[in-house]
């Protein structure tokens, strides 16, 4: 516990330093509040509008989680299919890669045109932003199996399904989790983009409102809320990872006493 507190001290020290610099800069250069509010003002704004922010955060968290879950339930099986079929991989993979090169922000309005304004299109946009890391790391994980491990599976006469279930999939889990951690952070971005087009609630919508009204205080409050959502979800995934693959070296070597 003490060690845990010790390691937490470093990021907190960084935060304090940044806030101090922020404060000093605003005071020193007389930055007007509509450009950069004081840290204290932002905190005050969060306190004032706490329930309001929480309501919108809740909506954004829902979209984030929905898109993230979609990324997993579509990304992982898609990866499995692509690894299983060389033909399909050759036909589909280049286009999937290409799809990642153009900005998803540009796709969002199109998705709205196609699917309307409900929850569905927002989940689609979030999914489009977030699924790729899951897909790629699952493919890498399923492929990176040692030759001798495959030979072992064959020597004990495991069927294709058994080889997948007892060897390939569990061995791919560390990679899948690595992809999920990137994906969950992308999901927050995706949800905000989704709310930029055709939403009347959520943190993305609030960002646009705050921007239009030059309400920099609110803007910063929303950014803080997004940060909190991102960090909480990231560590939630990491917690699940610890529970699911306690045997993996990245987890074992972090706390040798456990």
């Amino acid at each position: 516990m003490m060690r845990r507190l010790g390691t937490m001290l470093y990021p907190i020290a960084t935060l304090v330093a940044l806030v101090v610099i922020w404060y000093a800069a605003v005071k020193l250069f007389h930055v007007p509040a509509y450009l950069l509010p004081l840290p204290g003002d932002v905190i005050e704004r969060i306190r004032e509008d706490f329930w309001f922010l929480l309501h919108h955060s809740w909506i954004t968290t829902g979209i984030t989680l929905g898109g993230f879950v979609l990324s997993i339930v579509i990304g992982v099986p898609l990866a499995i299919v692509l690894v299983a079929s060389k033909t399909l991989e050759r036909a589909v993979m280049p286009w999937l890669i290409l799809s990642q090169t153009f900005p998803k922000v540009a796709l969002a309005p199109l998705v709205v045109v196609w699917f309307g304004l409900g929850l569905g299109p927002k989940l689609v946009v979030t999914f489009l932003v977030a699924f790729f890391p899951v897909l790629v790391s699952t493919i890498v994980g399923l492929r990176s199996i040692e030759r001798e491990m495959i030979e072992l599976a064959r020597a004990v006469r495991a069927s294709t399904l058994q080889t997948f279930w007892h060897f390939r999939l569990p061995l791919a889990l560390p990679n899948i989790f690595a992809g999920m951690k990137v994906s969950v952070a992308f999901s927050v971005v995706g949800a905000v983009i989704a709310e930029w087009v055709g939403a009347n609630a959520g943190l993305g919508y609030l960002l646009l409102q705050a921007n239009a009204n030059l309400d920099t205080g609110l803007l910063f409050a929303v950014l803080v809320a997004l940060m909190v959502i991102g960090v909480v979800l990231y560590y939630a995934v990491e917690l699940v990872e610890r529970l699911v693959i306690p045997w993996h070296s990245t987890i074992r070597l972090q706390n040798p006493t456990a």
Binding site: E148, E151, A155, V156, R157, A158, H166, F167, W247, S249
Partner: protein
Amino acid sequence: MAQPITISGVSKTFGSGTAGVQALQDVDLEVAAGEFVAIVGASGCGKSTLLRLVGGLAPPTSGRIEIGGKPVVEPSPGIGIVFQTPVLLPWRTVEQNVQLPLVIQRSGDAAQRIQDLLELVGLRGFERRRPYELSGGMQQRVALCRALVTDPSLLLMDEPFGALDALTREQMNLELQRIWLETGKTVLLITHSITEAVMLADRVVVMTPRPGRIREIIEVKLPRPRDFSALRDAAFHEACERIRMLMNASGFVE
């Protein structure tokens, strides 16, 4: 229970045309039921390839391999294989790793048999440990138990102790000999250690590289059970020297 191996005129080429690499050429070898045969040779002499062909993990390009009179076409349940690395599944306990072949073949849990095997290799008390909690030698012992759990009549070992330190390796050699004497299985051991080969085998097959061919087969006439004091024995010394000479003559110096 043990079964003989007949290898006749076996060649193996990887790739085809001018890009093809011939790993084995015209290999003939008879291994009697219950015999312990070691195969030594330089890296790349095709000795691991030969083991994989016998194990049914790859087909020969030409020639025939029979185990107990039946041609080998795929991995058979009568064979246990120990690889260079333990390849244990890290999420399974020692016990569950040993159990793996039974789980795959849905043939009961055989708890008593697993206990006996772990006892045999001195791993009692480690049943519920995970592989990463064990030393390299202990991990390879678990792999040995896993290979033995289906009670195969033939044990194939591909440089199983190559990654271990000298002391652990000698200890494992003695254990393997003891297990072989107790179970009477046919054993085919691939190794690059001349001492290990002579220490354990009834016959040592010396292979030459590129393409892999059998150079000579040396009979080791030492009484059993052997131990490392036999190193000073004249017959032991003679066999080692002979093998070393054959390997050097084929352009290989270890």
